[in-house]
Symmetry: none
Subunit: 413 residues, 2 copies
């Protein structure tokens, strides 16, 4: 992220520094992500979801460990799930930006290789003049979406392999695979009705051929779909390529395993070189899988989605209940005897706002050699007084976990 | 501060990032700057000025809102008024440096256009050998200074418009307007007596002609002033040009209004593209003007100068009294129903030090969707426990205000 004044904002530490200092150790780190953990009081003076929950096990970990609140992207910035997780894995999300097309592709487990270009797509409705009249084609059902994606398999581009995968309802992901493709192509989605779709434009030198191929794809798609109603056209946006970033195992020497029910989080983990393990859905199955993988890995990313989903639904009580369920699973996790256990979220999703928010996220770090603070309870308010501070850049958590795991050498003599 | 990965550490967020994420909303932000707000106890164990003041309204805002302390430039660094304010407006003052000549020109409302060069000037006394014997010409009165500035209108430079405006006593501002001028010219002020004024030197390629013009100005000024006593010569310093920075309204989409009694603050606001509104002096008149402008603006910078001036005078009790007066005006401001209200200062000016200081400045942010902390009182000590933390970079306040005002989009998917 280069500023207008030439300054670059960095949160946390550099991966290059971590790679320099990383050393092997007989220690295991668990990063337990309660998606959307941070909350807000519903009424002034009331508790947040985490404060309303009865969490004796998390409270004990907070009392024994060191606490604080993390800021995934920056002050006032509401993180998307991708950036929120990248930060937790030590990748500053302002430096390591991943395109929306790629995130969508990861979200439905489209196989992506370096050099592939991915974009988000909508089926839409255009009138006889070619103007968009409905950007979502009347929200066609997922079954229709699937059928239309299959139909688009007819599209043939010279020298490029085309793959169209349904997401949900009117949404799909387009993947182009071939030599010399670029993600620097402008959206064809005009984000408005009453106007035609935009021509795909090259946004950088070297993207001209990809832009032409995209234009060709759109023309053929329009032909293939011409007799469909209402979904007689496509709109594309968020062109991007799989980034070629340092892999977490290469940076840290960790044998990293990811256990997540949702494809998008598995995708981000895979993108960073973690091994994505198979497991049934749910916390218990996840812990079973972690037990099985314990001997062969030393970093475990465990992802709990429902607390976030309940926030998006505005369901305060369900969030409280789900947090209490995670708390009840703590003893099973502790039975594995992780050397470092971090419990936090990738962002806040207060039920009151029914959306991700910019509010910092409570975090606890539990380890034998932690210097404890005075925090006795795992909650937003209590964590303010914690040793990790009230606004720790989230990307600082990984170095802290590595440090407490004896996995970072001394810097300098 | 360059990191191993080539990253540069900056305080706060990038304006480019803000511009990317900014969105419109039906919300109004008020930034109420109590200049030099931060203080110190006069004796060990005693209260600061803010702690000694009775501030029931500010305390209520602190209890309902989120608090902390801000650091305008960096740890241990005492901010000037320009950098202190730039930080409050989201412009990292280490990235956005404004020259002293320009600041002085803004301070007396000299009309500056991009490309103009401004410098601070002193009338001084030189002896027959040309050595400076008094850098301030015996502190001549303002009336004399005004007369001498008018006299300097005789100076004629080829292709350049010369403007000399009195500031106070022996001080003036020189403005050069013309094609291809540069601010990279060295001071002629030797900052010592017993030596001659320095030759104006070009400090960068392309500044040679400007340096020559400045030399020419100084020669002609010496001639014009030769029969004056004691002010028979000029010294110049702080050459600079009006910077071409991103404008706050362009970055944020805010219709920004500035209400300040002192020219220097109006000048900084104008520099950032705010609309500087007319008002009588004083808090009440300022609030009248804010009321009138309420419908047509969504960002209000209100500047209160006297608390700082009392600090410079070393007058603890006057500071206490002035803080209480601002507190009494809070209900009028709240009657406007701002969505986000930030109350803070641009730096500390403890009466005990009679000067600006490096101590962090208390801040409160009041908004409907704030996550409250345990702070119940607006004071330096109480704010230490606040959710904004004890040393928030001041340039993080604007993104925080925008976030709480619903004016920043989610970062990433």
């Amino acid at each position: 992220m280069t500023g207008l004044g030439g300054g670059t904002v960095r949160h946390g530490l550099d991966l290059e520094l971590l790679a320099r200092l990383a050393q092997q150790a007989e220690s295991r780190i668990v990063l337990w992500v309660l998606d959307g953990l941070g909350g807000l009081p519903v009424e002034a003076g009331g508790p947040t979801e985490l404060e309303a929950a009865r969490t004796p096990h998390l409270d004990r970990l907070a009392a024994e460990g060191i606490c604080g609140l993390i800021e995934p992207v920056g002050p006032g910035i509401t993180p998307g799930s991708g950036p929120g997780h990248l930060a937790l894995f030590g990748y500053d999300p302002l430096t390591y930006e991943v395109g929306r097309g790629v995130l969508s592709a990861l979200g439905i487990e489209v196989d992506l290789e370096p050099g592939d270009v991915a974009a988000r797509g909508n089926f839409c409705t255009v009138d006889a003049a070619g103007d968009v009249v409905d950007r979502r084609a009347g929200r066609i059902g997922s079954d229709v979406g699937r059928r239309l994606c299959a139909k688009l398999a007819e599209v043939d581009l010279p020298g490029v392999q085309v793959d169209v995968q349904p997401v949900k309802e009117y949404r799909f992901v387009l993947r182009l695979r071939g030599e010399g493709l670029s993600g620097a192509v402008g959206d064809t989605d005009p984000q408005a009705t009453g106007v035609p779709a935009r021509r795909a434009e090259a946004l950088a030198d070297g993207a001209e051929r990809t832009a032409e191929l995209v234009g060709n794809f759109v023309e053929q798609a329009a032909e293939v779909l011409q007799d469909e109603n209402p979904a007689n056209m496509v709109l594309l946006r968020g062109f991007s390529t799989l980034p070629d970033w340092p892999r977490l195992p290469d940076v840290t020497g960790l044998r990293a395993a990811a256990l997540a029910d949702y494809p998008m989080y598995r995708g981000v983990a895979r993108l960073l070189g973690m091994e994505v393990l198979a497991s049934e859905a749910g916390t218990d199955a996840r812990l079973d899988a972690a037990e099985r993988a314990w001997a062969d890995h030393d970093f475990f990313f465990l992802h709990e989605k429902p607390i976030d989903a309940a926030g998006e639904d505005g369901d305060f009580d369900r969030r409280v209940d789900l947090i209490e369920r995670v708390d009840a699973a703590v003893p099973r996790l502790l039975a594995l005897e992780p050397d470092v256990l971090v419990v936090t979220g990738d962002h806040s999703t207060p039920a009151r706002l029914r959306a991700h928010s910019w509010h910092p996220v409570p975090v606890l770090l539990h380890a034998a050699n932690v210097r404890p603070d005075a925090v006795e309870r795992f909650s937003e308010r209590a964590c303010l007084a914690g040793g990790l501070g009230p606004r720790l850049p989230a990307s600082a958590l990984l170095p802290l976990a590595l440090g407490h795991a004896g996995r970072l050498r001394k810097f300098g003599a």
